[in-house]
């Protein structure tokens, strides 16, 4: 029987505010355990949480970027459960009236486009961090993360493969990072994902029993976990069994999912409105202000690059993979007036340098002005493309401008006809055998002569001019 996977994803993204969602403790990562805590985030009795306005602004940005409907009034609720990383015994979240609903994002898979619906986006506080002792029956609690602001983005069950899941997550990640509201660091847990997945016969419209997957901390692991779970559920169903509704943890080392142990009754969170936090109202004026502050989003930028700079969609995709890289390319394109050349130099050379050194574009020693100058010099015929390849290496290593490097090394291109003619006639004179073969019809030897001229000039000859002159002079022989 042919089965179809049905996947829905829950993404938790940590918002890049300076302070926590309901108190003024710092959100900085990696501080001494429990040094960023206060009576509010420690869950002391009698304290009053007060909502950080920036959290709402950031959440609204994401809601607008994913075409959600913003609820004019939304509320906070208490989600009740006991766990040592949750000091109050409840998490402040949004339940009945979330900030935003009914959104969508467009993804590309196998060259086709597909829309994935977003059920809701709501704000909530993160829990603390638990470290389990390997040798003793003890765990250690660090509450620095307790109260750090999160948005939860819940997708519709519109995803049909691990690949689509990956594309959807990368799109969300890209939008969050572009808007600078989340640093997107998956290792530090700033961008986390849980997955709900079930299988159903291809013709069926009702959903099968789902499992919930957790503990996947990279795009690759999420795809691997989903692929494994599709296979596992198919095996269970094909052998006449039924899938148990349960939470399963991804085991990266083994490459399998295992049921979470020690899980008791089904979750019963007994949500109710948090009386400490008053209703949140978002009016048109505020929404307009947020809309105006949105940057150009990656998909729009990609389309604009293809349209305005006439570069291939693939190149535009690479160049817009981060906002900083897109800005870099655009600066070079504008300064040089040669977008196609700018794209080539950035895609081939700059990205290679950066990849080799594991550097970010913001740390690139070659400034956009310098790269634009190099392109202009090539275009004016001052240096050849081949020479430019050496110059750019020097630029990357020293941070010097191309003009300075060319002067220092005496790398000026020979574009003087008389000089080149002299070189060419001596090359022709020195190779009588090749000359007679060429004249006898062995056209391929033309390249040999070009090579000899370039060699004699240490690569400084203007290749176009050499071609031209050589053709003329060989014909005259």
């Amino acid at each position: 029987m042919e089965y179809e996977p049905v996947i829905g994803l829950e993404v938790h993204a940590q918002l890049l505010t300076a302070s926590k969602i309901f108190c003024g403790c710092s959100t900085e990562f990696g501080a001494i355990p429990n040094s960023h805590t206060c009576p509010v985030c420690l869950g002391m009795p009698g304290v009053l949480p007060v909502l950080n306005k920036k959290v709402v602004e950031y959440a609204l940005k994401m809601a607008l970027a994913t075409h959600c409907t913003i609820n004019e009034t939304s509320n906070f609720a208490r989600k009740n459960y006991f766990y040592p990383d949750l000091p109050k015994g409840y998490q402040i979240s949004q339940y009945a009236q979330p900030l935003a609903e009914h959104g969508k994002v467009e993804i590309e898979v196998n060259g086709g486009k597909k829309v994935i619906g977003i059920t809701r986006i709501h704000m909530e506080e993160d829990a603390g961090k638990l470290i389990h002792d390997e040798y003793n029956p003890a765990s250690y609690v660090d509450l620095n993360r307790a109260g750090v602001p999160l948005i939860e983005i819940v997708s519709e069950p519109d995803i049909r493969s691990a690949e689509e899941a990956g594309a959807y997550l990368k799109r969300l990640h890209e939008i969050l990072v572009y808007m600078e509201i989340c640093d997107g660091n998956m290792e530090e847990g700033s961008f986390r994902c849980d997955a709900n997945i079930s299988l159903r016969p291809k013709w069926e419209t009702a959903f099968g029993t789902r499992t919930e997957l957790k503990n996947m901390n990279s795009f690759r692991n999420i795809q691997r976990a989903l692929e494994y779970e599709i296979k596992r559920q198919r095996y269970v169903l094909e052998n006449g069994g039924s899938v148990a509704q349960e939470t399963r943890l991804w085991d990266d080392a083994q490459g399998v999912t295992n049921p979470m142990r020690g899980k008791e009754e089904a979750h019963d969170y007994r949500y109710f409105p948090d009386p400490d936090l008053v209703s949140l109202t978002v009016d048109e004026l505020w929404l307009e202000e947020i809309k105006r502050s949105l940057p150009e989003l990656p998909l729009k930028k990609r389309e604009r690059f293809v349209r305005d700079y006439q570069i291939p969609a693939y190149d535009a995709g690479v160049l817009t993979s981060s906002r900083a890289l897109a800005d870099y390319f655009e600066a070079v394109a504008k300064l040089s007036g040669k977008p196609k050349a700018a794209s080539n130099w950035v895609m081939v050379d700059i990205l290679k340098f950066l990849n080799d050194d594991k550097r970010e574009i913001k740390d690139c020693p070659i400034l956009p002005e310098s790269l634009a100058q190099l392109i202009t010099l090539i275009d004016a015929g001052a240096i050849s493309g081949k020479m430019a390849k050496d110059v750019i290496v020097e630029m990357y290593e020293t941070g010097k401008s191309p003009k300075a490097i060319i002067e220092e090394k005496g790398m000026v291109q020979i574009a003087d006809e008389e000089t080149l003619k002299k070189v060419i006639s001596s090359v022709i004179g020195a190779n009588p055998q090749q000359l007679s073969q060429f004249l006898a019809g062995k056209d391929k030897l033309f390249g040999y002569f070009v090579g000899q001229v370039m060699k004699a000039t240490q690569g400084k000859a203007n290749p176009q001019l050499v071609n031209e002159l050589l053709k003329k002079m060989l014909a005259e022989t």
């Binding site: 505010t17 300076a18 302070s19 108190c23 003024g24 403790c25 710092s26 001494i32 355990p33 429990n34 040094s35 960023h36 805590t37 206060c38 009576p39 420690l42 007060v50 909502l51 950080n52 306005k53 920036k54 959290v55 709402v56 009034t73 509320n75 009740n80 006991f82 766990y83 040592p84 638990l130 470290i131 389990h132 002792d133 003793n136 029956p137 003890a138 765990s139 250690y140 609690v141 660090d142 509450l143 142990r261 020690g262 009754e265 019963d268 007994r270 409105p273 009386p275 936090l277 008053v278 209703s279 949140l280 109202t281």
Partner: protein, 95 residues
């Protein structure tokens, strides 16, 4: 009866509370009395009245995104029954 003894036991478990048999019977009666009293409210005509989640008519109480000084580490840990290094120490939850 709106609530059974089993429901009382279930809610008690969720709240991590333990009761004797006598207490369970008493709580079942008390919770039923409360819910029956609430039933009276259901008889009030609320057509056209928005559901209310707060007793005070206040909206949008915000703080600005400014970092304040956290508690002294020692004070933060002062109520902990057990600590290890700079962390709270608790019994292991998963094995």
């Amino acid at each position: 009866m709106k609530i059974t003894k089993e429901e009382v036991e279930y809610v008690a478990h969720l709240a991590r509370l333990e009761f004797t048999e006598t207490e369970k019977v008493r709580l079942t009666t008390q919770l039923n009395d409360i819910l029956m009293y609430m039933d009276k409210l259901n008889r009030v005509n609320t057509t056209g009245v928005e559901p209310m989640s707060h007793a005070i008519a206040l909206i949008n109480a915000f703080r600005q995104d400014v970092v304040w000084e956290s508690l002294d580490h020692e004070l933060s840990m002062a109520n902990a029954p057990e600590t290890k290094g700079q962390s709270f120490k608790v019994p292991k939850i998963i094995d």
